[in-house]
């Protein structure tokens, strides 16, 4: 991977929610991460360990209580089109067609006229051709997930936050989109944070796999995946990596 100069640093990040009864629920506890431009980092951990919570912090949607979170040295305080977020739920705007949903971000930033072609390109890449004029209630769940990905990627963000974006897809489509993501990383060298429950996906896509503990989430392992692309999913090295990640996950549960 090409190392660039953009850098995302999370240091001692803790985030808790205070319930109505005043009880604190610690979601993230002293979480640390350093990611450089062009790196794909997978976050993997049990459900409810704070993965989405962390991505929301990086997106600038929430504020943490402790620690620092910086992008290129500047603290993250608000959302930015530079940091694209594919949410866990597609939540597409029901009043827009697929085409307009994908173009939404470009229009909001007055970039639509210059990057018009990118919209169709993204729609084709995500296998949505022919559904440009469809409304969200007319497409399948897997297609909705792909529209959500297209909507974010069309902006060519410097940081891409993916919250289980492919979990609603069939195995074949998933493999296709995974390769598209890799191609895009090759082309634009973004920082990618990928939350996934699929160990194979984590090993296939990422340069590093960060394993989180059960809630409150904190780093328990940082496993480099130094296999050359394209990766062979059934090679012994690949399978060995999967074991390594699985062991890191199981270790904590035991």
């Amino acid at each position: 991977m090409v190392a660039g100069n953009h850098q995302l640093i999370a240091a001692h990040v803790s985030r808790w929610f205070t319930g109505e009864d005043g009880v604190k629920l610690l979601a993230l506890d002293d979480f640390n991460l350093e990611v450089n431009q062009g790196e794909v980092v997978a976050l993997i951990g049990p459900s409810g360990c704070g993965k989405s919570t962390f991505l929301r912090l990086v997106a600038g949607l929430d504020e943490m209580q402790e620690g620092t979170l910086t992008y290129d040295g500047d603290p993250i305080t608000a959302p930015s089109p530079n940091r694209g977020f594919v949410f866990q739920q597609a939540n597409l705007y029901p009043w827009l067609t697929v085409e307009k949903i994908v173009a939404f971000g470009l229009k909001a930033n007055n970039e639509y006229q210059e990057k018009k072609l990118r919209v169709q390109e993204m729609i084709d890449l995500m296998g949505l051709s022919g559904f440009e004029k469809s409304y969200p209630h007319q497409i399948s769940g897997g297609m909705a997930a792909r529209v959500a990905i297209a909507q974010t990627l069309v902006m060519d963000p410097e940081v891409i936050l993916l919250d289980e974006p492919l979990s609603a897809l069939d195995a074949f489509t998933r493999a296709v989109i995974q390769d598209e993501i890799l191609k895009m990383v090759d082309r634009f060298h973004p920082i990618v944070l990928l939350v996934t429950h699929d160990i194979e996906e984590a090993v296939y896509l990422s340069d590093r796999v960060i394993v989180l503990s059960p809630r409150p989430g904190t780093n328990i392992a940082d496993i480099p995946v130094d296999l050359p692309h394209p990766r062979d999913r059934i090679s012994p090295e690949f399978i060995a990596k999967r074991h390594e990640v699985l062991d890191a996950l199981n270790f904590e549960e035991a």
Partner: protein
């Protein structure tokens, strides 16, 4: 794609001849039935002498039935040939039969027998004549019968509703979007909103520079209230994910209001406008009865004073038509704006 090209081909072949298809026996019966009823109504009116009031000469009711007959005959004839027209005309067959049947019965019980109390229940002919009466006399500038007063009401209503729409959109948006504004605006709407327009009328008349201004203000108030309440409630209910998604793509607050919040609350806006329009019709009649010396509300009030019941009926019918057309337009616009929604409110 094979599917799309197939569609295009059938589109190309569509000519007017494709729509030509003769009605079958059952359809012909359905087309003929209203015709028979309208003809019966005409024959009844012609055959029976007017007995109440004595010596009454009917003028417009026979003509009305004749025109109905000719117009329906035209549509029925077209329907025998053209399938799309047929579907629409047949849709109304039951309603037409009942409507003209009732008209026939009503005519029988009024001018033909006097069974119903006159003049409280005017004959169809008297009601029709009411449409052409220049109420208020030439001095008030009334010409063209009730159309003059219809225009007065209509323009007052439109001015009031337009003003109320703008006010309601701004008020509702501020109240729904901003906590600060909500703190200050909420109490005002809670106090002013539920007060019926009748109660405001006297005060408005004194405070406003003219009775016209007062009436517009009252009508706008009754549109503003339900629109603001529905809109602000809708805005607070917009899924947070919709807004956050736009934020992460760098959309400004104004862009989000215009392109995320307003589309999301479109159903609420239409519900508010629907309620507002209905309330405003009430306010209109009140305002006209007390303030402006024109309009359907004024005619109704005036006719009541002179016991001209036929005129009351005529005005009410014009009023119904106006309300019906306005609400139909509103729902057509809603249907057009909300094509994306699966189940919009039907009218």
């Amino acid at each position: 794609m094979p599917l799309a090209s197939q569609n295009e081909r059938t589109q190309d072949q569509r000519t007017i001849f494709q729509y030509v298809q003769f009605a079958n026996g059952k359809e012909v019966l359905k087309l003929a039935a209203p015709l028979v009823v309208i003809a019966l109504a005409f024959i009844q009116d012609a055959a029976m002498p007017a007995v109440y009031p004595e010596g009454y000469v009917e003028a417009r009711y026979p003509a009305f039935l004749m025109i109905s007959l000719v117009v329906y005959l035209l549509f029925a004839a077209l329907s025998v040939w053209f399938k799309p027209v047929r579907a629409k005309v047949i849709h109304f067959w039951g309603l037409l039969i009942v409507a003209y049947g009732l008209l026939m019965a009503y005519n029988y019980n009024t001018v033909k027998t006097g069974n119903l109390l006159l003049p409280v229940m005017p004959s169809p002919d008297a009601i029709l004549n009411g449409f052409f009466e220049d109420v208020g006399g030439a001095a008030s500038g009334a010409t063209g019968g009730l159309f003059f007063h219809f225009m007065g009401s209509f323009s007052l209503l439109l001015q009031g509703v337009a003003l109320g729409f703008v006010a309601g959109m701004i008020y509702g948006t501020l109240m729904g979007y901003s906590r600060f504004w909500n703190y200050w605006l909420q109490p005002i709407i809670k106090i002013i909103g539920p007060v019926p327009s009748t109660a405001w009328m006297a005060i408005a008349m004194v405070l406003a520079p003219s009775s016209h201004t007062a009436s517009v203000f009252l009508v706008s108030l009754t549109t503003w209230f339900p629109l603001s309440v529905n809109l602000s409630g809708g805005i607070r209910g917009v899924p947070k994910a919709f807004i956050e998604r736009a934020e992460t793509m760098g959309a400004s607050p104004f862009y989000i209001i215009r392109h995320v919040i307003y589309p999301a609350v479109l159903p609420n806006i239409f519900t508010g406008l629907f309620m507002g329009l209905c309330f405003s019709l009430t306010a209109l009649v009140t305002a006209e009865a007390l303030g402006v010396e024109a309009g359907l509300g004024w005619v109704i009030n005036h006719a009541q004073g002179w016991n001209e019941f036929d005129l009351i009926f005529s005005s009410v019918i014009v009023f119904i038509l106006m309300a019906f057309v306005l609400l139909t337009i509103l729902f057509k616009v809603q249907k057009h704006c909300m094509k994306w929604s699966k189940g919009a409110i039907q009218w």
